[in-house]
Structures are given as structure tokens and as C-alpha cells.
Assembly symmetry: C2
Homo-oligomer: 349 residues x 2
């Protein structure tokens, strides 16, 4: 459960790095609700996704179907398990395909509850063929304690009023929006799906607490002065269980700009009844106050609302209300439009 301290001090820390393009594996799972990772990869990392492969009974997400050997011959470098399963286990029926992929020269990548590295057949095959088993829930070795040193380049961090309300997709949409304007920008991933989409990253929630800010520093190293790292936020500074992760990420990211993510249909912290979500202006004030410790120039560009549960008219109203409350642009990054362009303007202001 604890970092191997000898590694911590002797290795040069790096983020996780995945070999691509990917073959997405969906096993025998037909339920679309379990295929969110595959859909996220298809929509946000299309250039990294060469093909998909399903077993009997499985359902794809519309990519060309290729068996591992054919995918490898076509250039694939990793098989990514891109579905969830009930309970998070890796079904035994998938093992022949996973072994086939290793034998075809592919790394295996997974972010499930069960670890690839806990399956002896896979460990032996990977060693025999010189392939990697990458569990994206497992942090890399060598994460240092944060230095607090100011780094070159510009940084944006998405923060939230809660978990699971759009911090990843907001960061992806902002990075994409900046690139569309000709601004140099990279999405920096801090969670499992984000890491698969970016092909690299740091699973912040699994880092040992003392190294959380150091892990965030590692994730967004020095860069060109006009380059933006757009960093996927985690948790919430007001979350009764996960605020420590959020604060370590905030301090280590040293963001110049934050964007507050919120779901206007949510009143309480998910899974923690009785904990009301903070007001938008209070959440911004708290994030700016805490973030100023490692970057005194931190400012909030505006609010990203997840309006997926609202009609178009309701969404427009919620966006206008949020903007009025905080005195800054608000937008749903997935709906886009003029409000989102105004939010990007505020980021770059």
C-alpha cells in the first residue's frame, strides 16, 4: 500500500505512458452503459484508436473490427480493455484473447478493479514476449515530493463542486478549443479514462498522500511560455472524502486559470447525503484562495455547466444564471456555442 521508498528516491519520476494506436477490446459485454470508456476513446482520441474487437455477444462502438494479430499487423501497439464489467473482474473467458494479443506483440492496458498484474498467465506471457501490462490505476514509481518551484508555461485546471460532473470532458473540450484557435495546448489526464484518452497521465487518486502534489508537478512539467497544459481535475475541495486529493492536485498543478465545473441538477455530494454542494461563488473563492499558495496569479475564467440533464431552454437559463452569479462566462462545453467561445476568451484574457 505504500510507495517503495527506494524507488522513490533513486528513479527519475515519470507519468504513465501508453503505446498506441490502440485496439479497443469490449469482450462479451453488450450493455452500452459499460462501454463509456470505449465511447470516450472513440470520441476524444479517435486518432489513437485503430480498431475494435468483441467476443460473441459483445457490442462494439463502430470502429473497424480486427482480431489482435490483424490489428498488430496494421500497426496497433496496445490492446485496451475499454469496457467495465459487473464487479470489475476480468472474466476468464477473455484470457485467450488477452494472451493472443501479447503473442501478437501488443501491450495490454486496463483500468479495472482487477489488476492485469495479478493474473499469472498474463505476467508470464508478457515476460516471455517483452510486452507490458499497464494498469492505469497503478501510479508509476519514482514520484517525488513536490518542490513548489514555479514552472514555465501556462496551466489551466478544471475544479468541481463534486465528483463525476464533467471535469474531464471540460478539460478535453477546452484543450480542443484552444488548439482550434491555434493555441498550443495539451490535455493532461489524472484519471483512468483520461489517461487512456491522452495516452499518458497520472492516476491521482491512487498516489500515496505525501506525493500527491509531487505527482501533479510531474504531470505538467516546464513548457514553452505560450503553451497551455489543460489539466483534468479530480474530486472537489468541498468533498468530505476526496478534498485532500483535490488540494494536492491544485497545489502541484499551480494553475494560472481555473474553470469551475458544476451540474445544476445536483444538490448534494454524490453518495454523501446531507452534504450540500457549495455555492458557485464560494467554490471559486475557496479554490482561488488555496491555489494562490503556489500560484499567486491564479484566477477563475468561468463556469462549465454539465446540462446533459436539461432541455435546451433550461440549459440556456442555467448558463445565464451561473454567469450572473459569478460575474464571468458560463457555458456547457459539450453544447459549445457562443458561450463556450466566451469562456475560451476568458481563459486566454
Amino acid at each position: 500500500m505504500v510507495a517503495d521508498m527506494s524507488q522513490v528516491e533513486t528513479q527519475h519520476g515519470r507519468t504513465l505512458e501508453l503505446a498506441h494506436p490502440y485496439l479497443l477490446f469490449l469482450g462479451d459485454i453488450a450493455e452500452p452503459g459499460y462501454a463509456k470508456t470505449a465511447m470516450g476513446l472513440r470520441d476524444w482520441a479517435g486518432e489513437r484508436c485503430l480498431a475494435e474487437y468483441t467476443l460473441d455477444g459483445g457490442r462494439g462502438v463502430g470502429l473497424p473490427r480486427m482480431a489482435p494479430a490483424a490489428a498488430s499487423a496494421a500497426g496497433a501497439r496496445s490492446l485496451v480493455i475499454a469496457v467495465a464489467t459487473p464487479g470489475g473482474a476480468i472474466p476468464a473467458a477473455w484470457l485467450p484473447t488477452l494472451l493472443e494479443a501479447i503473442e501478437a506483440g501488443l501491450d495490454l492496458v486496463a483500468g479495472m478493479h482487477a489488476k492485469l498484474s495479478d493474473m499469472p498467465e498474463l505476467v508470464a506471457a508478457a515476460a516471455r514476449h517483452g510486452r507490458r501490462l499497464v494498469d492505469v490505476r497503478t501510479p508509476p514509481p519514482g514520484i517525488p515530493v513536490a518542490s513548489g518551484r514555479k514552472r514555465s508555461g501556462r496551466r489551466l485546471l478544471t475544479v468541481g463542486t463534486d465528483c463525476a460532473l464533467g471535469k474531464k470532458y471540460t478539460a478535453l473540450a477546452i484543450a480542443r478549443g484552444l488548439v482550434a484557435r491555434g493555441v498550443k495546448a495539451d490535455f493532461r489526464a489524472t484519471g483512468q479514462t483520461g489517461i487512456m484518452i491522452a495516452g499518458a497521465g497520472m492516476p491521482m487518486d491512487a498516489v500515496v498522500a505525501d506525493f500527491a502534489a509531487g505527482a501533479a508537478e510531474l504531470l505538467s512539467p516546464d513548457n514553452a511560455p505560450d503553451h497551455w497544459d489543460v489539466i483534468e481535475g479530480q474530486g472537489s475541495l468541498s468533498h468530505p472524502a476526496f478534498a485532500g486529493v483535490s488540494l494536492g492536485l491544485l497545489h502541484g498543478s499551480q494553475p494560472d486559470v481555473i474553470v469551475l465545473c458544476h451540474d445544476p441538477t445536483r444538490a448534494e455530494v454524490l453518495g454523501h447525503p446531507g452534504y450540500a454542494l457549495p455555492r458557485l461563488d464560494e467554490a471559486i473563492d475557496l479554490a482561488v484562495r488555496l491555489g494562490a499558495r503556489t500560484n499567486p496569479a491564479i484566477r477563475c475564467a468561468g463556469v462549465a455547466l454539465n446540462t446533459s440533464g436539461l432541455s435546451e431552454a433550461e440549459a440556456r437559463k442555467a448558463i445565464a444564471e451561473a454567469s450572473a452569479m459569478v460575474g464571468a462566462p458560463a457555458a456547457d462545453p459539450i453544447r459549445g456555442g457562443a458561450e463556450f467561445e466566451a469562456l475560451l476568451d476568458a481563459v486566454l484574457a
Copy 2:
């Protein structure tokens, strides 16, 4: 580096628990600066310390000298490595004594950089004799995600303007002071030395970030309404590397009362030049604002100053100034006196 998630969900979480009384082992180390753990145990957990044992060239801390077999016969249940070594290694020359202790029926307890469980001879001997190897830097399995549920009983947490300025000894002194007044109180340990002193605890800095607040909840479970848990703080909410640990501990502890610990001779964060320590009133305001999320009734009783680097006159002056700045009692808990009694009054107010 990551929690074994199967353990996390299937085991009932517990803190680390050490078997006592202890035989303190100081090896062949003569430098008193390395014996701080032994001195802390002697001074704060005298009732748990049966004897000490040194090798040729070593220096004790004034307890009766006993070899492991004799200590075991006299009732000892653990040999505690109570010295540091240069680099944190366990010297090979200590191995015969450690094996002798296992054979005599003692658990081994250590909090060094090197792990007992990485020494195959010790692992084999412990298995053979049914003894435990307890690395107090390694969190126990089964730590849950925090629930945020309000627990019965009263809680005090020491918070700080920095690391390493007296949060542990302040908590110990307050717990001792409360007990001396007939108040039910327990010291709750969150670091290596504290865990050895208390005989139980949670190494907060080594817990995986997502479980930090949950670990703090585990450390101070429901208790009698008039019972106080006096919890050892870690890090600082203003620390550029460790604030996340401090916030997880604050949220999970749900303190009714905080005491701010400070060293008036320190101007910058240790090891982080350029990071000025926060003002006392700002540090209190931030801790109360953040702590109110899980305990809206949180309040600050006052300030504990570490005046070990000051003369008596200088200390009196620093204490008076701190008290005036925050409008609450200030005291050096180690010097004690009327100021410290006033601080205890404020805790119980």
C-alpha cells in the same frame, strides 16, 4: 504503490496496533540525535517501555538493559527499533539480535526507511515463530473511503504552520493535561513516532490519497460523548507539498477544536525557501473554514508555540504576542505553566 482494492472492500478497516510492553533496541548507534524515538518513548510512553538493549558502541536512554530473551521472560511483547540510522537502512550487524527477539517470542516494530518485511531472514523467522513484523510506515489494509458521518465523542486536532514544529508533542501534552484534570482523553497518533508512543495509530502520510480522510475517520471512531480524542496533526494546510494530507486529516477527524502549532523562530516552510509561513490568524481562519465542511461547530482554542529555541524571557514575549494576535490563549505545552492551563481551559470551554 496502490491499495489492494480487494482488501479495501472486503476487510473491516483497523488502525495499526502494536503489542506491548516494548524492548527498545538502539543497536550500535551512539549519536543522541538519532535516538529521538527512544527518548520520546521513554518520556511519553514510559509505561509501555520495559527495557532497552544496545550492541557494542550503542548508547541507551536510561532504561534497564535486557537481552531479548530476558525481556520476553519479563513480559515484553515487541522489540522496537527506536533509533534512526544514516540513510535509514537496517544494518546487517543487527540481524542476529532481531532474529533472537523473534525466537524469544517478540514482534518486531520499526519505522525506518528500510522495511522489516523486505528482509527474507526476518520474514522466514517471523512465519516460523508466529510473530509479526510491523512497519509503522505501512498503513493497515481495509481503509475505507470517508463517509463524512458525524461521530459521537469530542475531538481535538493539532494543526500547524509547517511540518516538524511540535504538533505531536502538543497533542501528547494536551491529552496528558486533560487526563490530569480527570477528563477522559486519548492521544491518537498519525505518524511513526506517535504510533509507537500510542501503541496504535495510522501513518497518514503513507495512505493512498483517496483514502486519507477515511483513514482519519478510522483513527477516531465513535466514543463516549464526554471523551476526547486528541489527534496528532500532520503537515500544514499551507504546505506546498503536504497540504492534501493535512486537509484529508482535517476532514476525516471532524475536530470540534483545533490548536494551531507554530515555531516563532521559523519564517519559511522547511525545505521550501520562498514559501513564507502563514500568519497565525490566517492559518486559523483557513483551518476553521475548511474544517467547517465536516464539523460546522469547529473552533480554535488557541496557539501552541514551540519555544525550544528561545530563552525564558523571549518565550514569554513570543507567547504574549501570539495570544494578542489571535485573541485566544497561547502557550508552550512543553514549558507548561499558567498559559498552558489557560489553553486547556479554552479547549474545554
